[in-house]
């Protein structure tokens, strides 16, 4: 890519992450490099265990031992993410990068009201005025289409889709530059998934944040993302625009992934059986 462009919002260079296991180090992310522009949606696909979540966690600086970043750099809007420490790191979190995790069931503290969890978040970032907190929480609730009067409810009172929306509302609270979504819809059924993503899509247009979207549903990704990266065994084997990836997949693994999706409507390409035995 030789075009002259503004510098990317996020640039990940040669990122390596290892897990310390009883048998020694296990490399989960292997020299992954990619960039993400402002107001762009980058999809990461790949099968289970290919290192997608690990990448996401590394970018959000959510690692705990036994995960260790063993190489590479992460730059977000000019900040060296890996160099952040202590209070600076705490402040940076959520203000610059927020995350939406896979499990809608477990992403909210079951013992606190939604309001308290919003308040927590604002207070952690220096907004202490009660009225302001209430005002902004209500605003965010409206944004994701949930009546603000339900702020007083506990998480278990919400359906899975609503909980996921609550998390998205929280993710938007501080207008971060980047939202990382790690399989935000796998626990939901297709209709709800569709509703949710349409909403995110609209919000993004409205608010202009970037999204790192992780899933293993390629079809979904092709609908939702501006660019797609395919991960295999910790490495990023291919990236590009959806059309290009669909029409001319370069890497054999990408091709295999496509072939494994039975099309709903009459096939554009005849599905070829994948006959080789899987590991």
């Amino acid at each position: 890519m030789t075009e002259v462009k503004p510098p990317p919002l996020l640039s990940v260079r040669e990122l390596c992450v290892d897990y310390a296991t009883p048998k020694g180090l296990k490399r989960a992310v292997d020299r992954a490099s990619f960039t993400l522009d402002a107001n762009e949606v980058l999809g990461l696909a790949g099968e289970s265990g290919s290192g997608k979540s690990t990448v996401a966690f590394a970018i959000a600086r959510l690692h705990r031992p036994p995960a260790f970043i063993t190489g590479g750099s992460i730059l977000l809007d000019g900040t060296d993410v890996l160099a952040l420490e202590g209070e600076a790191l705490r402040q940076w979190r959520w203000r610059d990068v927020s995350v939406v995790l896979q499990s809608a069931m477990n992403a909210l503290n079951p013992l606190l009201t939604v309001e308290a969890q919003f308040a927590d978040l604002f207070r952690a970032h220096g907004i202490r005025d009660k009225a302001e907190i209430r005002e902004r929480s209500a605003e965010l609730m409206r944004l994701v289409g949930i009546a603000p009067d339900r702020l007083r409810d506990y998480p278990h009172r919400f359906s899975g889709g609503m909980r996921q929306r609550l998390v998205i509302a929280m993710a938007l609270a501080l207008s971060p530059k980047l939202i990382i979504m790690d399989e935000p819809t796998t626990a939901l059924d297709v209709v709800v998934q569709r509703e949710l993503l349409q909403e995110v899509s609209a919000l993004r247009r409205q608010l202009g944040f970037s999204v790192l979207f992780i899933t293993h549903d390629l079809a979904l990704m092709s609908q939702f993302c501006d660019r797609i990266g395919i991960m295999l065994n910790g490495a990023l084997v291919e990236q590009g625009e959806p059309e290009q990836m669909i029409d001319a997949p370069q890497h054999p693994y990408t091709r295999k992934l496509w072939q494994a999706i039975p099309p709903l409507h009459p096939p554009r390409m005849p599905p070829r059986r994948v006959l080789e035995k899987m590991p």
């Binding site: 959000a60 959510l62 031992p65 705490r90 402040q91 940076w92 979190r93 959520w94 203000r95 990068v97 927020s98 995350v99 995790l101 896979q102 499990s103 477990n106 992403a107 909210l108 503290n109 079951p110 013992l111 606190l112 009201t113 927590d120 978040l121 952690a124 970032h125 506990y154 278990h156 998390v167 929280m170």
Partner: protein, 325 residues
Amino acid sequence: MVFLLRRLGFYVAAFLFAATFNFLIPRLMPGNPIDTMFAQAGTALPPESLDALKATFGFLDAPLPVQYLHYLGSVFTWDLGLSVKFYPLTVNQVLLRALPWTLLLVMTSSLTAFAIGSLAGARAAWRRGGTFDSVGAPGALMLQAVPPLVTSLLALSLFSISLKWLPTGFAWDPMLDLTWSWASVSSVLIHAVLPVATMALAQIGGYLVTMRNSMINLLGEDYITLGQAKGLSDRRLRLVYAAYNALLPALTSFAMSLGAVFGGSLVTEVVFNYPGLGYTLYEGITSRDYPLIQGQLLIMTLAMLSANFVADTLYILVDPRLRRA
């Protein structure tokens, strides 16, 4: 509420069960309990004296079912009759005299142990594999393996007999009349120090490990990760997000362990000559005071049930998921 009602049913059933059990124990044992009881009294009593005594204590010579009904009646009116050992006190009076002391021991020691153990457990789990964890967790386990018997004996001989820092027995200075004066209160406190400390020591380990394990399980939960991603302070994350949630399993074990603590207080009370339920029970056992033993077991069961009830209620208060209308 539904939950509580269901529990209430259970409490009644459990209590009935315990009461019946209570009734059966002395009757299933070999030998005639009443004769054994008075044989204990020492010198040979002429049969007339014996019969007169039996009548005084209200021992029925009736078929079992009749005795049982009579007994159930007395249980539900909580009229447990006269204590043999502490005659002329009624069983109620004996129990009432001892209950506050045991409650004092059990409650303070349990709460102390629970607070310390849980906080330490939370800390150990938070700094997984850190120094505190690697020393604290196995250390707590070792502590659990030390019989309260051994600790109380050691504490007594060290602090009371050798160093003479603390009293060797009684719940308060016997020469004081108990009032709400500072002298009385401080006397009670000083006399409670060793019993409470040894009882607490026996429990800390359990709470520490429970808390640590449930906390570790929780730390993998998404909402903890999310809380962290939200940039919450460590303290808030640890206490409100992790420890608070981990408290639920700890709470159950707290209620369950109260039974053991009640039992454990027996040893402590005997060693420290502390006038609580445990000691009274011991006394009742050695002198075969059946009415008293029955009353003891009943009241301990009741105490256990109340502890469970409190735990259930707390559980509901803490966990909104159970707070259905």
